[in-house]
Assembly symmetry: C2
Homo-oligomer: 226 residues x 2
DNA sequence: TACCGTTTTAAACGTATGTTTAAAACGAAT
DNA sequence: ATTCGTTTTAAACATACGTTTAAAACGGTA
């Protein structure tokens, strides 16, 4: 099947280049040059640049959500009526992501970067596509998350969820830069799984912190010195 | 001074449009149309699109860092030798940011979005500019942060700092979308300062969580079911 | 009013983009 | 060997971009 090779090469090059430079900044000519295929191949195989972007996301998210769905339902069954444990829940997600990219660990960084870009960068069609295609999985994870923190109000849970998403996505968006800076600053090279081991307690700690401000810092004024 | 009006109009339009669509996705023609000025005015007043981007950042960061510097040094003096308190430190930063945009509160969202874009989006020249121009302020805040968490190793502090940055920037990057979703999901409209009141305990909780994983989840395997 | 530096303007420049076209090359089936 | 659907290719298309140009308009000063 030689035609699969062309699609595959395009997808790989696109995944790499999009994650490095963003969507608008990456031209089809750069992608096809890197893939070693003709420029028109993108429109022939994918129809448009937008569809290529969607296909790149699907290349990771479809196997990831499939695996995650089964992992989460297994966990949910094992729970019966007890509340879910947050750190275990998050651990499942991270491990599923790691497993999905088990053969090429750098792919995980790339996809986190891509998800971060999809969220922050304009490109409304990406958000629409992701929501249409994977919104259901997102919602069912949210439900489990809610069950793991029954004491939290809906509003607090909502915002903390997105704070957590931010810490995770932002970190992996720049994880390569950050790892290089960490090496320079603190002298030790970190693996992605090491970063996850530091990130998981952080987000769990943030999620589970008591809801009210426990220190006397409720006012809005600082010192007043201009 | 009619020439100041042109620069001002360009800056305002650029700030707004860049934060909504990103840098590469916003053309000078869109900016000048929104500003009601001639296309060539950008290159006449700013030299290039890159310099315009830098000027937009400077429009917020220069007053912000000036104010922050004085606030932090006041706090530092008041400390003498005792360690800084994390939540108070973070509170100073947030309040300084709020004060810098006191007249137009939506500007804070915009600048957080812009900073998030600068960090995640390629555009290497922006990161270089920010580091050259404001790297010193960043470093001196890092020092105070280190003093507020003396028990943390350099490596853990480094990563948690960036987790925190992620939660903050990501949140404000999408704060308008998020507020709209929150309104839809939980029914209550949030103000930016309300979001900060939820965000501050979250990041403080994450920063101050005990370093080691306190639950038995150190292994990498999940359940094995495909 | 005449002058001159500053600012604005319309038009064009060169380049790059996503997409389309129509012909060529390919591969299996008749 | 010929046919036919699929895939690849080089070339062109139309559009959009950032930037430059040179002339026009402006505004205070002599």
């Amino acid at each position: 099947m030689p035609q699969k090779d062309t699609s595959k090469a395009i997808l790989e090059a696109a995944e790499q280049l999009f994650s490095e430079r963003g969507f608008a900044e990456t031209s089809l000519r750069t992608i096809t040059a890197r893939a070693g295929v003709n420029l028109a191949a993108v429109n022939y195989h994918f129809g448009s640049k937008k569809s290529l972007i969607h296909a790149v996301f699907a290349g990771f998210l479809t196997p990831f959500t499939a695996r995650l769905r089964s992992e989460l339902s297994l966990y949910e069954e094992s729970l019966a009526d007890e509340p879910a444990e947050l750190r275990y829940l998050l651990g499942i997600v991270f491990n599923t992501a790691l497993l999905t990219c088990a053969d090429q660990p750098e792919r995980l960084n790339r996809f986190m970067r891509l998800l971060g870009l999809a969220y922050t960068q304009g490109q409304g069609h990406i958000k629409r596509y992701l929501n249409r295609e994977y919104g259901e999985d997102f919602a069912s994870f949210s439900d489990l998350l809610r069950r793991s923190m029954p004491e939290l109000s809906a509003e607090e849970l909502y915002w903390r969820f997105h704070f957590m998403l931010g810490a995770v996505m932002f970190t992996f968006s720049g994880v390569d830069t950050l790892k290089a800076m960490a090496e320079h600053d603190v002298g030790r090279l970190a693996q992605t799984s090491d970063v996850i081991d530091l990130l998981l307690p952080f987000v769990a700690g943030g999620m589970q912190v008591p809801a009210q401000l426990p220190v006397a810092f409720a006012g809005r004024e600082v010192s007043g010195a201009s």
